[in-house]
C-alpha cells in the first residue's frame, strides 16, 4: 500500500524511522516484517474496527481567508493580485501556487466556490457558519462540533467527543460551545487563543500549549489521597446540586466528572506528541497549527468524532487571515503553514487507513473582497467565497459553483451556511433534519429544514 511510489507521487520524502522510534515500535509489537510495511501495520486497530464511525476534522480559518488568493483565483483580472495558479491532481482545477502540497490532494477534495452568506461581521458570521443559524434571541444554538459529538460520540468514552485546538473564540464565544445541548458536549479546549497569555509564549509555543494543563495531580498528593478527595467532593456537593436545579451547578458537576475521567484514562496520552517521529513532526510543520493537525490525527485515531484546529495567526498574531492590509504577504505565509499541516494530515490519515472515514472541512467565517483596497488588503466579503470538503464521505475531484470573472458574485449554485452544514452532516452519515430538545421548549433541527445539501458530492 504505502510503497515508495506513494510518497514520490506526492513529492514527499519517505519518512525515515530513527532507530529509537523503530525500537519503540518493535517493542509495541507494531512493526511488521518488511521495512516498508510498518505504516500499514499501524493502521490496524483503528481503521479496520467495524464499529468505527466517521470522524470530522474542521480546519477553521479565523478571520476570513481570501478565496481570491487560495481556491478561486482570477489571474489576469485587475482583482486577481500577484499570485499565479497551479494545476492540481484534479484535472481542470487550479488553485494558488502557494498551496502546492494540498494541490496533490484535490482529487480527494471538493472546492465549493459559491458560498453566499451575507454576514460581514466577524461575530455574526462566525456564529452563522459554525451553527447554521443566526444568533437570534433566546435560543442557544450549539456549534457543529457539539452536534456531531452528540450524534457520533460515545457517552462512556474517556476523551471528550469534541476537542477544539487553538481556537480564537473572541469574535463569538457562543459559536464554539455546545449551547442547549448542555455541558457534556462542550469542547475540551487546548491552546486557547482568545485570551492573551500573560506569561508570554506565543503561537509557536506548541510544546506547552498543546497539552492539557494540570492533567496530573500535584506531586505532594498521592493517588489514594487524590481519590479520597474526589469522594469527599462528590459527597459534599450532591445535596447542593439537587436543591439548585439549573445549568450552572450541573455544568460544574459534569466538568469535574469528565476531568476526573480524563485524568484516569490512558487515552489522555493522545496529547503526547513526542511519541511521534521527528520527521513526521517536521512534515506537519513546527508551529501550532501543524502540530495541532498532528494532534487531531491522534485524537481521531482514538475515536474522537470531532476535532477542530484553528489557524488564526502565526508569530503571535491571532487573526492572521483578516487581511485588511498587506494581504499578499500575509496570505503567502499563512498558506505555507496551512499547506504543510493540511497536506501532511491527509497523507498521515491515508497511510493509516483513516482518510476514508474522516471528513476534512476547510472554512472560515467569510471570504474577502475581490477589489484590492488602498492598503494592499482585502476586506470582509460574504457574497461569493470558498470552502473545501475532503476525505471520507466525499466524491473528490469536483468544483461546485462558480463566481463571475471579477469574483464579485456567484453565478452558479449559491451555497448558504445551512446548505454547507447539511452537506457536512450527510458526509458524516448524520441526519441533519433530526431534532434536539432546545432551551426554549421547542425542538430544533440540527440544520434548518430549508437547507439544500450538495448531494452530488456525498458518497452514500
Amino acid at each position: 500500500m504505502a510503497g515508495s511510489s506513494f510518497y514520490a507521487s506526492r513529492g514527499l520524502k519517505r519518512p525515515e524511522l530513527s532507530r529509537r522510534d523503530w525500537l519503540r515500535l518493535a517493542s509495541a509489537g507494531v512493526v511488521g516484517a518488511s521495512a516498508s510495511g510498518w505504516l500499514e501495520a499501524l493502521a490496524s486497530a483503528a481503521a479496520t474496527d467495524p464499529q468505527r464511525r466517521r470522524s470530522c476534522i474542521l480546519l477553521w480559518m479565523t478571520g476570513g481567508p481570501s478565496q481570491m488568493d487560495t481556491f478561486d483565483l482570477k489571474p489576469g483580472h485587475a482583482n486577481g493580485g500577484p499570485y499565479k495558479d497551479i494545476a492540481t491532481s484534479a484535472p481542470g482545477t487550479r488553485i494558488s501556487e502557494h498551496l502546492p502540497k494540498i494541490a496533490r490532494y484535490m482529487d480527494r477534495s471538493v472546492i465549493v466556490r459559491s458560498m453566499q452568506t451575507k454576514e460581514g461581521d466577524h461575530g455574526q458570521a462566525t456564529f452563522l457558519m459554525r451553527t447554521g443559524y443566526r444568533p437570534q434571541g433566546p435560543v442557544d444554538y450549539p456549534s457543529i462540533g457539539a452536534l456531531v459529538a452528540r450524534e457520533l460520540g460515545n457517552e462512556t468514552s474517556e476523551l471528550p467527543s469534541f476537542v477544539s485546538i487553538a481556537p480564537y473564540r473572541f469574535f463569538n464565544p457562543a459559536a464554539f460551545g455546545s449551547g442547549f445541548l448542555g455541558p457534556q458536549f462542550a469542547p475540551l479546549i487546548v491552546a486557547d487563543m482568545g485570551f492573551p497569555n500573560p506569561m508570554g509564549g506565543g503561537a509557536n509555543d506548541y510544546e506547552q500549549s498543546l497539552k492539557v494543563q494540570d492533567l496530573e495531580t500535584s506531586r505532594e498528593v498521592s493517588k489514594a489521597q487524590a481519590d479520597a478527595r474526589i469522594d469527599l467532593l462528590r459527597g459534599l456537593e450532591k445535596k447542593f446540586v439537587m436543591q439548585h436545579p439549573g445549568a450552572a451547578p450541573l455544568s460544574h458537576q459534569t466538568a469535574y466528572d469528565r476531568a476526573v475521567r480524563l485524568m484516569r484514562s490512558a487515552a489522555s496520552r493522545a496529547f503526547n506528541l513526542e511519541e511521534e517521529s521527528e520527521v513526521l513532526r517536521d512534515s506537519y510543520g513546527r508551529n501550532q497549527f501543524g502540530q495541532g493537525c498532528l494532534l487531531a490525527r491522534r485524537l481521531v485515531e482514538r475515536g474522537v468524532p470531532f476535532v477542530e484546529v484553528s489557524l488564526g495567526g502565526i508569530d503571535n498574531n491571532a487573526i492572521g487571515w483578516d487581511t485588511h492590509q498587506q494581504n499578499f504577504d500575509i496570505v503567502k505565509r499563512m498558506s505555507q503553514v496551512l499547506d504543510s499541516g493540511w497536506a501532511t494530515l491527509m497523507m498521515d490519515l491515508q497511510t493509516r487507513g483513516l482518510l476514508d472515514s474522516t471528513l476534512i472541512v476547510w472554512a472560515g467565517e467569510f471570504g474577502r473582497t475581490p477589489k484590492i483596497n488602498p492598503q494592499r488588503g482585502r476586506d470582509h466579503f460574504p457574497d461569493a467565497w470558498s470552502t473545501v470538503l475532503a476525505g471520507g464521505g466525499i466524491k473528490g475531484g469536483q468544483v461546485i459553483g462558480k463566481t463571475s470573472p471579477d469574483g464579485m458574485k456567484v453565478v452558479e449554485r449559491p451555497v448558504s451556511a445551512p446548505d454547507f452544514l447539511a452537506t457536512v452532516c450527510l458526509a458524516l452519515g448524520i441526519d441533519y433534519l433530526k431534532q434536539n430538545d432546545s432551551n426554549v421548549g421547542r425542538p430544533i433541527r440540527i440544520v434548518d429544514k430549508t437547507a439544500k445539501p450538495i448531494q452530488e458530492i456525498v458518497m452514500a
Binding site: 443566526r134 464565544p173 455541558p183 500573560p198 494543563q213 494540570d214 447542593f240 439549573g246 445549568a247 469528565r258
Partner: protein
C-alpha cells in the same frame, strides 16, 4: 344652559381622547422616548422603591400561580450580598459577627447605613474594587490591541475615582462620551500617572477608533439596543435600517487614527464633522439620533457632545432603562430584558411596568448608583433563597427564587484568596499598567474568562483540572502557604475536630455544616484519611470545600 353643557361635554371627550392617546402610546415600551415626562411624580426612597419592586413581582407571581421561595437565611444572604457588592466572600470572623447580630434591620445595614461610623459594604474599598472591575469589563471589550494595554491604566484610574466618589451615572457616561481625543491624547509612555489627568481614552482605542464600532458599543452599552446587525443590511428582526446605523455612526465620524499602525498611533478628531460615507457606497449620511429626530446643532457644542447630551438627557428612557436593567441583571442574574443589550420588539421586558418605574426613579434620584443598589438589595425578591422549593419556580424570568450565578474570574480569585488566607506575593508584574495585577492573579484570570450568561455559567474541563490540580490550589491548601489551614490545624487547644470543621465551612461556604455533614467529616478527619494524619485529612476536606459547586457559584 344646554349649550354650556354640550360645550363642556365636547371638551371632556377631547380631553379623554387625549389622555387615552397618551396612555396607549406609553403602553408600548419600544416606542422612542417622548419629550417630557408626566409631571408631579413622587420621588421614592430606596426602601419605598424596594417595596414597589416586591409589589409588582409578587402580583405577577400570584397571577401566574407561582409559589415564591422562602427568604434566604442570614448565611445565604450574607454570602450573596458580599459577592455581589464586595466581589468576594466574607471572612469567617465577619460571618460569626453577622450571624450573632440580633438587630432586626441588620441586612439593610450590612449594605448601607445612615450612620457614618458604621462599616457597610457600599462604603467599603472592596465595593470600589469590585464595581470598578464590573464596569470596566462592561465598558472595555477584551482587546489584543497593544495601545489599549498602555492606556488601560488611565482608564482604570479614571473609572475607580468615579465609582469611589459615587459620581452620578449620567455624568460618568457624559464624561466618557465627550472625553477629548486628538493631539492631547495621553499616551503615558514614560510619564508617571497623574490621577487628575487620567482619561478614558481606552474606550475609543478598544473600539479601534472606528465610528461603526463606537456606534455599536455606545448603543449597546448605554441605550440597550444592539445595532450591529444593521451595519451591513437592514436588521433582520428589529426596526433598524442600514441607513439608521450609519446615521448614528456619523456622530463619531470626526475620529481618525493618525500615524502608522492604525489605532496604535494617536487619535485625531475633527470635532465638528457630522457626516460620513456609508462604506462600499457613494452615499453620504448626516448624524441623526436613533429615534429619527434631527439634532439641534449649536455652534459651541461639538458633534460627540451633542450625542452625549441626547443620550443622558432626562427624557431619554432608553438610557435610564438600559442602566437599570444592567444593574438588575447584576443582582438577579438575568435582566428584566434579556439579553440585556438587545431590547427590541421580539424581546420585550418581563415586567415592563417595573422596568419603567425603576428607570423613572433612577432618573428622579439623579442617577445615583448607590441609591439603586440599596433599592434592589433591599427587596424581598433579592433576599429569596436560591434553593428550589416548588416546581412552579422554574421560570427564571419571574424571579420566584434567586438565580444561581457564576462568578467573574476576579470574584473567584479574590474569594479563594480570602478563604485560604493565601499569602500572595504582592509584587505587581507591571505596576505602571495595573497596580493590582500580580503573577498568580494574572495566570489565574487567564484561565477563567468572563461569561455573559451568568445563570448558565459553563465550567470547562480545563477549569476543573486547574482547580483540582493547579499549582495555586495545591499551594493554597498546603499547610505551608495557607494561613487559614495553618490556623485551624495548628492551634488545637480548646478546639475539637467538630469546631475545626465548622471553621473550614465558615471560611469557605459562609455557613455552618449540617449535622450529617459534620458527622461524616469528623469521622474522616479523625481517621486521618489515606495518610493516617489528621492534618492531611483536614487539608483534604479543605480541598473538597474549595472545589465544590457551592463554593464556585454565587447563590
Amino acid at each position: 344652559m344646554k349649550g354650556h353643557w354640550l360645550w363642556l361635554a365636547g371638551l371632556s371627550v377631547l380631553w379623554l381622547a387625549g389622555v387615552a392617546k397618551l396612555a396607549t402610546a406609553d403602553a408600548d415600551p419600544c416606542t422612542p422616548p417622548k419629550q417630557g415626562v408626566p409631571g408631579g411624580e413622587a420621588v421614592l426612597s430606596a426602601e419605598a422603591l424596594a417595596a414597589r419592586i416586591d409589589a409588582i413581582l409578587d402580583a405577577r407571581l400570584a397571577a401566574e400561580k407561582v409559589k415564591p421561595a422562602p427568604l434566604a437565611d442570614d448565611a445565604e444572604f450574607m454570602r450573596r450580598v458580599y459577592l455581589d457588592l464586595a466581589g468576594k466572600i466574607p471572612l469567617a470572623s465577619e460571618v460569626h459577627d453577622f450571624l450573632q447580630n440580633p438587630a432586626p434591620d441588620k441586612r439593610a445595614r450590612l449594605v448601607w447605613s445612615a450612620d457614618p461610623q458604621e462599616k457597610t459594604l457600599l462604603d467599603s474599598a472592596s465595593y470600589v474594587n469590585h464595581f470598578t472591575n464590573v464596569w470596566r469589563a462592561l465598558l472595555l471589550p477584551p482587546s489584543n490591541n497593544q495601545q489599549v494595554q498602555v492606556s488601560l491604566g488611565d482608564f482604570e484610574i479614571w473609572l475607580r475615582k468615579r465609582i469611589g466618589s459615587n459620581q452620578p451615572y449620567d455624568q460618568l457616561v457624559l464624561e466618557l462620551l465627550t472625553t477629548p481625543l486628538g493631539s492631547a491624547t495621553p499616551q503615558m509612555r514614560n510619564q508617571p500617572m497623574d490621577p487628575e489627568k487620567a482619561k478614558p481614552v481606552a474606550f475609543y482605542q478598544a473600539n479601534e477608533l472606528k465610528p461603526e464600532n463606537l456606534a455599536a458599543a455606545t448603543s449597546r452599552l448605554f441605550l440597550g439596543v444592539k445595532l450591529e446587525c444593521a451595519q451591513c443590511h437592514n436588521h433582520p428582526h428589529a426596526q433598524w435600517t442600514r441607513n439608521q446605523f450609519w446615521e448614528f455612526a456619523a456622530f463619531f465620524s470626526g475620529i481618525e487614527a493618525r500615524g502608522p499602525g492604525g489605532p496604535a498611533a494617536g487619535a485625531y478628531e475633527a470635532a465638528d464633522r457630522r457626516s460620513l460615507k456609508i462604506p462600499g457606497t457613494d452615499k453620504m449620511v448626516v448624524a441623526r439620533f436613533l429615534d429619527g429626530k434631527e439634532p439641534q446643532w449649536r455652534p459651541e457644542v461639538r458633534t460627540r457632545a451633542t450625542l452625549a447630551q441626547w443620550i443622558t438627557a432626562e427624557n431619554n428612557q432608553y438610557f435610564a432603562r438600559a442602566a437599570v436593567n444592567r444593574l438588575w441583571a447584576h443582582f438577579f442574574g438575568v435582566g428584566l430584558v434579556d439579553p440585556v443589550d438587545d431590547l427590541n420588539d421580539q424581546n420585550p421586558p418581563s415586567h415592563p411596568e417595573l422596568l419603567d418605574e425603576l428607570a423613572r426613579q433612577f432618573t428622579l434620584n439623579h442617577y445615583d448608583l448607590k441609591y439603586l443598589i440599596r433599592a434592589l438589595t433591599g427587596s424581598k425578591a433579592y433576599q429569596r433563597s436560591s434553593a428550589a422549593s416548588d416546581p412552579s419556580q422554574k421560570d427564571p424570568r419571574l424571579f420566584a427564587r434567586m438565580a444561581v450565578k457564576g462568578l467573574s474570574p476576579e470574584q473567584l480569585f479574590d474569594s479563594l484568596i480570602q478563604a485560604t488566607g493565601y499569602m500572595e506575593d504582592k509584587t505587581p508584574t507591571n505596576p505602571r499598567l495595573n497596580p493590582v495585577m500580580t503573577a498568580p492573579r494574572a495566570q489565574f484570570l487567564a484561565r477563567f474568562a468572563s461569561q455573559e450568561k451568568r445563570t448558565e455559567y459553563h465550567t470547562s474541563i480545563l477549569q476543573a483540572l486547574a482547580l483540582m490540580n493547579g499549582k495555586f490550589i495545591a499551594d493554597a491548601t498546603s499547610v505551608e502557604h495557607s494561613m487559614t489551614l495553618l490556623a485551624i490545624a495548628e492551634y488545637s487547644y480548646k478546639r475539637g475536630t467538630p469546631e475545626r470543621i465548622e471553621e473550614l465551612f465558615l471560611s469557605t461556604l459562609t455557613r455552618m455544616p449540617t449535622p450529617e455533614e459534620s458527622e461524616s467529616l469528623v469521622r474522616y478527619v479523625e481517621s486521618g484519611g489515606p495518610r493516617h494524619e489528621q492534618k492531611a485529612a483536614l487539608a483534604d476536606v479543605f480541598w473538597a470545600l474549595l472545589n465544590s459547586a457551592e463554593f464556585f457559584l454565587n447563590h
